[in-house]
Every structure is written in C-alpha cells, then in structure tokens.
Amino acid sequence: MSIQVGGQLSSTQKFWRFVLYTLLIVFAFVYMAPLYVMVVTSLKSLDEIRGGNLMMPPLDPTFDAWVKSWSYACVGVECTGINKYFFNSFKMAIPAVAISTFMGAVNGYVLTKWRFKGADIFFGLILFGCFIPFQIVLVPMATILGKLGLAQTTPGLVLVHVTYGLCFTTLFFRNYYQAFPDELIKAAKLDGAGFFRVFWRILLPNSLPIIVVTVIWQFTNVWNDFLFGASFASGDAAPMTVALNNVVNTSTSVKEYNVDMATAIYAALPTLLVYVLAGRYFVRGLMAGAVKG
C-alpha cells in the first residue's frame, strides 16, 4: 500500500523494513519446517534418527526408507509396499476428475446460457451439496455401493467422488460462464448452431483457464480424500491416504519413522507437484471454492 519505496528511507523506516523482513522469514521457516523434517527424516537411517534430532541434516543420506516404503512396507498385514495404493489413487482420481469436470462444464453452460424457470433454485440445491458434512451420507452410500457390487472397489470410489465433486465443478463453470458474453452465443444461434455446437465450438475453446482450475481443485480433493477411502475401500482398492495411515499405524516391533516419512512424501508428492507447477490456478480454485466467482 503506501510505505515509500526507493528514494531515501528514514532510519525508522529502515528499522521497520528490517523487522518486517525478519518476521516474514521467520514465518517462512516455520511453514517450511514440517516439509524439511519430512524429507530429512526419510533420508536417515533409524540409528541416525535415534541419535540425532529433527533438524539435523542426514549425515549419510540413504534412499533405503523410500525403497522400503515403495516395495516392502506393511500396509496392515500385507507387506508389499505402497506402490499398489499409489496407483489406486491415480486410477480413482483420473476418471473421477475427468467425469466431474466434463459434467460441471455442461451444467454451467445450461445454468447460464440456456436458463429455464427455476434454474437458480436448482443451482442453489446443487450448491448446498458441496457443504454437507459427508458423515450424513456414509451409511446410505455404503449400502448402495454394496447393492451395486461396488463396495471396496475403485469404480465405487470414482462414483462417490464424481457425485460429491459435481457441485463444485458446476459452481466453477457456472461462475465462469456467467461472465461470458451472451452476444457471441446469440450470433452463433442465429447462424443455426444448436445446443451442443455452441458448447463445443464457442464455449469450450474459451474455457481453458477454468478447466485448469477445476481439474486442479478436483484432483487435489480426490487425491487427498481420506473419509470416503477409509469408509468404502479400506482393502486392496484403498487409496494412498488410507495406505499411509495404515503404514503409520501398523504395529511393528520397531517404529520406522523414516519409512513413515517416505510414505508421507509419496502421498504428498502428486498434489505438491501440481501446486508448484500451477500454483496460480490452485489459488484461484481455493477462492472460487469460497463461493465468490
């Protein structure tokens, strides 16, 4: 806002700038600390962990814990590593994100450009679904998944994530298309373009930013979900978050903190990567998730 930059800073101003930067850096260290701890712990041997402390860098860095986590760690009673669960999460997230994003785009299009009576009420009803505590749907969902033969399966989780992701994807696209000029669409319609043609040829090609935002938001939410995974697929089809929790809580004679941390890194890596590569869009999704378009 208005502290002067450039020119002569008075000594009081210099002092306050110094305090300001110090505070910002201290906070940055606090926020980075857990990530740092996670990485260095995963690179240490158990002896080194016991002999040293949290912040000590690994004296003899080793990827043993990473290898063990990936291929040999015990998830419950089975000791074949977390690789299967890591891929489970992808098998779940990719279709769930693709389907919910596509449906959200079409919904947003209808709700803004082909408005019918009661559209706002329908939108309000859909929107409320974003914010229910999912505890209210667990038992009915488990029952239905059982009846459909989808309990303990990845397709079952895809169904669940599409269902409860739809309201967010619809919200994102609706808010985005609301600002899209109607004139262009009117003109296309006069030229005889129908419902789908307008969508494919006019709206979709102009939707890249919101598609990126929605895909990132959905991917982060689906990948990071634990409640649905633990409730509906705790066995072989378990997602990575459930596997991580199992690895940490599997009672072995020795507590292998390095393996726990390596597993946590595997669980964090995909969303962290998305965040680093496309942080701008990630933030936009967060903002849109707070309803404001």
């Binding site: 502290i3 209808v110 408005r115």
Partner: protein, 307 residues
C-alpha cells in the same frame, strides 16, 4: 446480464423441436437426479436411520427418539462437542489472525513476494493425513521437538501435549492452523489488493497513520472476506476427521474426539448406526445453520448484480 436467448431451432416443431427446447433440462437431469438421491435422499435416509433400531446393519424398524436421547447422554459425545468448541474457536481465531497478519505484511511491496506466498500456502495442497503424520512425528515427546530443544541446550524443555489428554486437542489446533492459515492469507491478500487506492490516498491525506488506515478503513471494507473465510474455516472445523485420525487417533483415550470421529466409530466400529446417524444429523444441522444463510445471501447478491 440477460438470461433470455432466442431459440430458432424451436420453430422446427416435431420431436427435434421438442428435444431442442428440453435439451438443457435433459442435460442437467443426471446432476439433478444424483443430487436428489445422493444428497437429499441420503440426508432423509440417515435422518430416518437415527430413529430406528439400526445397530450393526441399517434396519427400518422404528425406535423413536431414543437414539437421540442416548446420543446426548453419551459422555464421549459431550467431550466431542466440547473439543469442537475449543478446536473451532482457536482454529478459526488463530488462522484468521495469522492469515491477516501475513497478508498485511506481504502487502508492503515485499521483494520475492511470490516465493514467500508460495511457502505460506503449500500446506493447503497436502492431505490432512500427511499433515497429521508429520506433526505426530514432530510432536512425539521422545525424539521430536523436545529432543531438539534439549540438543539446543534447553534441558528442562518439556512438550508432551500429544500424549497428554488435557492438552492433546491443542496439538490438533497447531497442525490445523499450520495447514489452513496460508489459505486465509491468500484470501485476505486478494481482498487487500482489491481495495481502491483512492480511498487509501484520501485517508492518508487526511493524516491517518498506516495502522489506523488498516484498522479503520481497509479492514471494514473487507468484511465480505472475513465472512467467507469464517464460513470456510468453520466448515472445515466441523468436518474435521482426517487430521485428528492421523495426529492423535482421537486419543489419548477419547480426549481428542470430535463429532466426525465420534460418528465414524459409533457407526463402523461400535455397531451403533442409530447413534452414529443421530450424531451425523446434528453435524448437518450445525453446518446448515452456517451455510444456508451464507449461500442464500451470496446467491441473492449475485442476482442483484446481474439485474
């Protein structure tokens, strides 16, 4: 924005014409059906279950109000509500204050602002399970923070909150604030950037000092953002499940139980679907009491803008 759009194809008549008119509704119908069944249908279903004799399996046999009575007589539920109050107030309060301070500091034309912002916000990309796992390790009394302080020479330092049933709930607050405050920072920063510079200039010409301008001019203008972040955080707090499970598992004992963990254990491990459902209904009512007025006012405001 105009909502009426001509439909030239409708004049064609016949099946095609009918399709063209009703296509928008047909396209929307899967979502409406899904929402109707999986959201509203399930809400009714679970509410119904909370008045039945459902134990290990959901049954339809009516039991009346008794599961709700049992819920409110349950000491763990009482503890869960108390914890939710402590956790909710501290988590929302601290995350808001920290987020606001960070946003104001970052708004002072900081060099490398982008890098610092990225660092403050990255925890939001992590799963609560990852956050819980890491903080559990850092707060563990044997080898964690305590050992670190001892190595730094602070021999009397003791930090055993995570295994202390009176203090464990505060470790959930710490991890929760670490994860979410960056998000609050991002929201406030966006709000600060949206404040009209002219207003600030006018205030500083009137001789107001920097802190006064923030306190008296800028913050009041950001009221909608305070509201949004309050709604998002309270919503996260009420739903909190993963973080507690990964960090403390609800323990020691049931000292860090929250409504969400209570619901889960009643339903899936204690064979009391009736009581679990009753608690889920209470959670829904709490969330709805916050969300419905908020969504209503948001949608109304949007409509106002459109006309």
């Amino acid at each position: 924005m105009s909502s009426h759009i001509d439909r030239p194809a409708a004049t064609r008549g016949g099946v095609l014409g009918w399709l063209q008119i009703h296509l928008p509704k047909i396209v929307l119908s899967p979502t409406l059906a899904i929402t109707g069944v999986f959201v509203y249908g399930f809400i009714i279903w679970t509410t119904y279950l909370s008045f039945t004799k459902s134990r290990m399996f959901p049954v339809t046999k009516w039991e009346g109000i008794s599961p709700h009575v049992k819920l409110w007589a349950n000491p763990v539920w009482e503890k869960a509500l108390e914890n939710l109050a402590i956790f909710g107030i501290l988590y929302i309060g601290i995350a808001t204050v920290v987020g606001l301070i960070l946003a104001v500091m970052l708004d002072q034309r900081i060099r490398q602002e982008g890098v610092i912002r990225t660092i403050y916000l990255y925890p939001m990309a992590l799963s609560f399970i990852v956050t819980g796992t890491v903080w559990k390790w850092m707060l563990n009394p044997g080898l964690g923070l305590e050992k670190l302080m001892h190595d730094f020479g602070w021999a009397s330092f003791k930090f055993d909150w995570i295994v202390n049933s009176d203090m464990a709930i505060y470790t959930v607050v710490i991890a929760g604030v670490w994860q979410s405050s960056g998000f609050v920072m991002a929201m406030f920063l966006a709000g600060l950037r949206a404040v009209d510079d002219e207003i600030i200039k006018a205030a500083s010409i009137d001789g107001a000092s920097q802190p006064i301008i923030y306190w008296k001019v800028i913050f009041p203008l950001m009221r909608p953002i305070f509201l949004s972040s309050f709604v998002v955080l309270s919503h996260l707090a009420i739903k909190s499940y993963d973080l507690v499970i990964a960090l403390t598992g609800g323990g020691p004992g049931y000292s860090t139980a929250l409504p969400a963990t209570f619901m889960y254990s009643q339903t899936f491990t204690r064979n009391h679907i009736d009581i679990g459902s009753a608690s889920a209904v209470m959670m829904l009512i709490t969330v709805a009491a916050i969300m419905v007025p908020y969504l209503y006012s948001e949608l109304k405001a949007q409509k106002g803008v459109r006309q």
